[in-house]
């Protein structure tokens, strides 16, 4: 090229250049540190300062954290062990961790919540990791919501079976109505019949059958004994599991062409989003009984579950609406042009894409709802934070704050961080094409 004159325009390459190794300064850990930590004196200074700050923090925290108080039985004993040094008093966790997990659930029945948790994981598997589980396990996932209350609250298995029967009755009514009416009316009538069955008939029928044929009765555990993480997970999983489908329906309703459906959905969403969750929980604990027919005794945890679910659903609806709005109208048109009807288009084309777009928002809502379950301590349910107060009421542990909060925080973090990682896994898995 050296003989190429500046005024020469024509240039023809005769030999193509081979690919060459990158210079050693940009590869390996040294290259990484160079380009990320020490590129220029400003960044080098920031790196050094940050490291110094991290070192300062850890040098304060770690000695406090690693204190030899695991076997102490009271705060006073902790102070004796530490002899004037600052340090955590971990004895409270060793002594009370079972209580923080299970609340006042009878300790000889701990196997039931543990079994429930194992079954929960087994039921979630085929839903969350479709590639690794046989699809037949989905039947078990469908049965789990009825198994869970039976295992936790005990009683005969007839009650959950009767609740499940409500779905069957609803479906039968729907199928029968479809012959004489359109899908909307049929669905409405079926829902009303199912709800009436659950409120008025399910319990008496279940009790009736149970007194005749006591099938697999478990020792009943009253709701007031529920507490700790078991309570949080029970409420959280229910709210998370129910709010997604309800949210989808509300989001579709809000975009519906039918004015009545649209107005109802908008009112519901805006009302629920406009009211603090605590208010709804108070309604659940105090006011709801006024609206219900006299004589119906609604379990407090069930009422709280319903309220938290409704609350989460309203937020979920808006998150999913965002996903729906982000879809180009061409997708709707293509689905229409191929002759897919509304529900098929939603199920096969629109929802898979809208939900995929909304994954980060959906999981954020899930995480938010799960953490919001700690608010139930305000209406007297003993969630982990409520238990922390209860534990401090014991004179042995009066004054222990950080240790309990760190433990509770760590357990919550494990749950929430897993959800967050799962959402990232799902996003990667559903990634198609190069947009």
């Amino acid at each position: 090229m050296s003989d190429t004159h500046a005024e020469t325009v024509l240039f023809v390459r005769e030999t193509m250049l081979e690919q060459q190794e990158p210079p050693s300064s940009i590869v390996g850990p040294v290259g990484w540190a160079r380009s990320n930590l020490f590129n220029g004196w400003k960044n080098s200074l920031l790196t050094v300062l940050s490291l110094a700050f991290v070192f300062y923090l850890l040098s304060g925290l770690l000695p406090w954290f690693f204190s030899p108080t695991w076997y102490s039985t009271s705060l006073t004993e902790c102070r004796e062990i530490l002899a004037g040094h600052e340090g955590a008093c971990w004895g409270v966790i060793r002594e009370r961790w079972l209580q923080l997990l299970f609340g006042f659930y009878p300790s000889e029945l701990y196997w039931r919540p543990i079994l429930t948790l194992i079954l929960l994981l087994l039921a979630l598997g085929p839903v969350l990791y479709t590639d690794y589980f046989p699809p037949k396990l989905l039947y078990f996932s469908a049965a789990f919501p009825f198994l869970m209350p039976w295992l936790l609250w005990g009683g005969s298995i007839w009650m959950p079976l009767m609740v499940a029967a409500g779905f069957g009755i609803g479906y039968a009514v729907f199928a029968a109505m479809m012959k004489v009416a359109n899908a909307g009316i049929s669905l409405f009538v079926a829902a009303v019949v199912a709800v009436l069955w659950w409120i008025f008939l399910a319990a008496p029928v279940a009790n009736g059958i149970a007194s005749l044929v006591p099938l697999l009765p478990l020792e009943p555990v009253p709701s007031r004994n529920f507490g700790g993480f078991m309570l949080s997970v029970t409420i959280g999983v229910t709210a998370i599991g129910c709010s997604l489908p309800i949210g989808i329906v509300l989001a579709l309703g809000r975009r519906s062409d039918l004015p009545l459906v649209k107005v109802l959905c908008v009112c519901f969403i805006e009302f629920i989003r406009g009211v603090p969750l605590i208010t709804l929980l108070f309604v659940a604990s105090v006011l709801l009984n006024i609206f219900l027919p006299p004589g119906t005794n609604f379990d407090i945890i069930l009422r709280v579950m319903i309220m938290v679910t409704l609350f989460a659903s309203a937020y979920m609806a808006e998150v999913i609406r965002g996903g729906l709005a982000a879809l180009p109208s061409g997708q709707y048109e293509a689905a229409d042009a191929l002759g897919l009807d509304y529900w098929k288009a939603q199920r096969l084309i629109i929802m898979p894409q809208a939900l995929k777009i909304s994954i980060p928002g959906i999981v954020s809502t899930f995480i938010g709802v799960f953490k919001d379950t700690t608010l139930v301590s305000i209406i007297g349910l003993i969630d982990p934070l409520g238990l922390a107060n209860a534990i401090r009421a014991d004179t042995a542990w009066n004054g222990v704050y950080w240790e309990l909060f760190i433990f509770i925080g760590a357990v919550f973090f494990i749950f929430c961080f897993s959800m967050s990682r799962y959402s990232m896994y799902l996003e990667r898995k559903l990634q198609t094409g190069h947009h």
Binding site: E333, D336, A337, L338, L348, Q353, G433, H435
Partner: protein
């Protein structure tokens, strides 16, 4: 815009127009709010006819063909497609839509499904075709548009021209009697226009009834047996391609042709 995009010789032997009416539009009007976008449209399309619709942007040409499968609703007049009148009756709409294929400017493939799934979805869910048969049909048409080896890729991994050919194959899998094309080449790079037009010519050679909104005047000359010129929501002129291009009657058409052919 160019006459050079199409060079493939066209085999006209099977391109016969029958006497049977495929689409009949009479006195059709449509408004967007108070804007009168389609004014007194009258159009009869026979089976096997290939019609190119041209006109400046905003002239209502896309809106008109979108009325034919009721992606847009008309407010007065009649549209009869293959003997079925389009009204608000959902059953009729679904029936017409499954008989009429459509290709869009932006392809509108389903990005979350593979090419093959894109092609088998409607046959399986609308026509209730068994999955195996639907896959065979899909592969047949993918073969036809010359991309069978991409069947298991996602739309995002294909070039624009390939995506549009998949979109055509997807429509064909429903075995439609009429195909609508809404500016199928407008979003494509020049070197990809030809591959899509070749596919459309091939379709025309097999006797498909086609309505194309397009600016590809070379395609119109070669394939169409009628060119319709629209402006301001109305049909201004329609004629056979040779006459239309060589001897336009209305001033509006002359101006339009001079603008798109003049450079």
């Amino acid at each position: 815009m160019t006459n050079t995009a199409v060079e493939t010789p066209v085999n006209t032997s099977a391109m016969k127009v029958s006497d049977e009416v495929a689409i009949e539009i009479s006195n059709m009007n449509k408004w967007y709010g108070s804007f009168h976008v389609l004014r007194d449209i009258n159009l009869t399309v026979n089976k096997g006819e290939r019609i190119v619709i041209a006109g400046p942007s905003g002239s209502g040409k896309s809106t008109m063909i979108r009325c034919i499968n009721r992606l847009e609703e008309h407010q007065s007049g009649k549209i009869i497609v293959d003997g079925t009148e389009l009204t608000s009756d959902l059953k009729n709409i679904d029936k017409v839509r499954s008989e009429v294929g459509m290709c869009f400017q932006h392809f509108n493939l389903f990005p979350h499904l593979t090419i093959l799934e894109n092609c088998t979805l409607a046959p399986i869910w609308v026509r209730k075709t068994p999955k195996k048969e639907a896959i065979e049909t899909a592969m047949y048409f993918l073969e036809k548009v010359k991309i069978p080896d991409q069947a298991n890729k996602y739309p995002g991994q294909l070039s624009g021209g390939q995506q549009q050919r998949v979109a055509i194959a997807r429509s064909l899998c429903m075995k439609p009697r009429i195909m609508l094309f809404d500016e199928p080449t407008s979003a494509l790079d020049p070197e990809m226009i030809k591959e899509v037009l070749d596919t459309m010519i091939q379709l025309a050679e097999e006797g498909m009834t086609m309505l194309c909104v397009t600016h590809e005047m070379g395609f119109a000359r070669q394939v169409a047996n009628r060119v319709i010129f629209m402006d301001q929501g109305q049909i201004v002129e329609q004629n056979e391609p040779e006459e239309f291009f060589n001897n336009p009657r209305s001033e509006r058409t002359k101006l339009f042709l001079s603008q798109i052919l003049g450079h």
